[in-house]
């Protein structure tokens, strides 16, 4: 194997990343670390000193911590369903993949139409005679309900991404392994835990990394359902960049998002490490 080959293969992607990401990114990173032309941490101090920063940070992490594990479970379930189906597999996979094509803005719109006071949920409940008059679900005092609504929307919107990656990964697991497990008397659950999951690690890793990173950037759905009640890092980034016009502080927020994303990526890589020798 020529030693240059891997670098040659990386060249096009690297060129893209350098030109269209690293270059603008370094300018923004410099923005976050300078104040009126001099190196300084003042932007980070202003960010951290703002009374909303703590809750913003907490909300973002909490949302990711609740959504991602649920999503992983759901995606695994959906992928297993697809792989177990004998008939209508294509149709079911397509249905499961539908939310992929829906932008977060549109998803926020639909789910707001469900939860708002004059929405579908209230219509259904009154129609069934369960309540007399429409309930208020998204009021500012009921942050728990708002949070739940956001979690549901995110589950609906973004599980498909993980599901498709896992389906593709499951397709590569040779069925002999499962059959071998059958011979040794493994139950369906044991087979899933001991055979499928470990062999799925590379795909799991990919799905988790991509999903976690995007979870730290939630924005449109939170804004649509939560209004100003659940500020998240991304909405504050927007706010400082465009409303407050403090690009330095906005850049500092962006660096925080980047920081926690990189941190969690490292964690996932560690936890789901597949040694080279264990690969097929």
């Amino acid at each position: 194997m020529p030693r240059l080959l891997p670098y040659l293969l990386l060249a096009p992607a690297t060129a893209f990343l350098c030109l269209f990401f690293l270059y603008p990114f370094s300018l923004v990173a410099i923005d976050s670390l300078t104040d009126r032309g001099a190196w300084s941490l003042r932007n980070f101090e202003r960010m951290a000193d703002h009374w909303k920063f703590g809750s913003t940070f907490r909300n973002t992490i909490l949302l990711a911590a609740v959504v991602v594990p649920l999503q992983l479970t759901l995606a695994l379930m959906m992928a297993s369903m697809v792989s177990r189906l004998k008939r209508a597999r294509g149709a079911v996979l397509y249905i499961f993949a539908i939310p992929l094509g829906i932008s977060d803005l549109a998803a926020g719109l639909v789910w707001l139409a469900i939860f708002e006071q004059s929405g579908f949920l209230n219509s259904a409940l009154t129609g069934l005679g369960l309540i007399d008059h429409p309930q208020l679900f998204l009021g500012y005092q009921s942050k728990g309900v708002i949070f739940t609504a956001i979690v549901l929307t995110e589950l609906w919107r973004a599980t498909a991404i993980m599901m498709v990656i896992l389906v593709a990964g499951m397709g590569l697991i040779p069925k002999e392994y499962g059959e071998a497990a059958d011979v040794f008397g493994a139950s369906r659950w044991q087979k899933f835990r001991r055979i499928t999951l470990p062999l799925l690690k590379p795909s799991l890793q990919t799905a988790l990394i991509l999903r976690v990173i995007m979870a730290f950037e939630v924005f449109a759905v939170v804004l649509a359902l939560g209004g100003t009640n659940l500020p998240v890092l991304m909405s504050e980034t927007y706010h400082w960049q465009f409303t407050m016009q403090e690009r330095g502080v906005a850049a500092a927020y962006a660096m925080v998002i980047l920081g926690i994303s990189v941190g969690f990526t490292v964690l996932i890589l560690r936890l789901l490490h597949v040694p080279k020798e264990a690969r097929p």
């Binding site: 080959l5 096009p12 990964g169 980034t237």
Partner: protein, 272 residues
Amino acid sequence: MSETTVRHAGNRVFIAAVVLTCIWVLLPIYLLAINALSAPAEVTGFPKRFWPSFDLASIQFFLGFRGVTSALWNSVQVAALTMVMAIGAGAPAGYAIARFDFPGKQVFRFMVVMTRAFPLPLLALPLAVLFIRVGLDDTVIGLAFVHTTLALPFAVLITYSLFSGIPYELEEAALTLGCNRVQAFWKVVMPLAAPGIAASAVFAFVVSWNEVFAAAVLTIEHRTLTAFLLQSLDVSPLPLKFAGGAALVVPALIFIFAVRKYLFAMWGIANR
């Protein structure tokens, strides 16, 4: 209970679970359709109806909107270019990470992930300045470059996980049967990686299709449909919001439908 009845019951539970999951996915789409296909007074009224009245006024408003067709065409072009470039640049990189150990591999992986982890709206300003200076501003290809950068992490990581699931031995067999490296890749690895490639294609398409911010800043004459509609959607009256939202969803669904069989291409064949 005999074993067959247990299996029957298990099957029934399984089918019920599949059906329920399908309903969970489809119901919100159906509600969107109801609102898009109903008269304005029904969209804002209470209680809501659960059956559309097929009043197409809102949808027709969008179809008659000046510039919708050219915006749609721009969107398709940008998304298609993004797809081709994301796979073209991403799959080789994913392959390199899966197959080889080399210095700089971890750095590259991190860089790829970072691209997705940094808020794009902040990058839009330096990018726009760059594009205006080099003449890429307001071009389909320029926007496709940015969207490709956004889609690359998907393409690289997904193809990586797929390639590392394909035994290297198959490639070696091809090498001993008269292939060079490139041929071995195209004839043996590529067909096996089809689901991963299709998944990256779907992501690249969808990322590009739904991206608003860069599109709004970087295109003027060549606005994409999303920049054209979605931007102003959340300030528009409710019935139009839903009609516009539905108008954006439909092409994406058609695309996913078109590639769905590739997502499945190698199912059950990949035994060895």
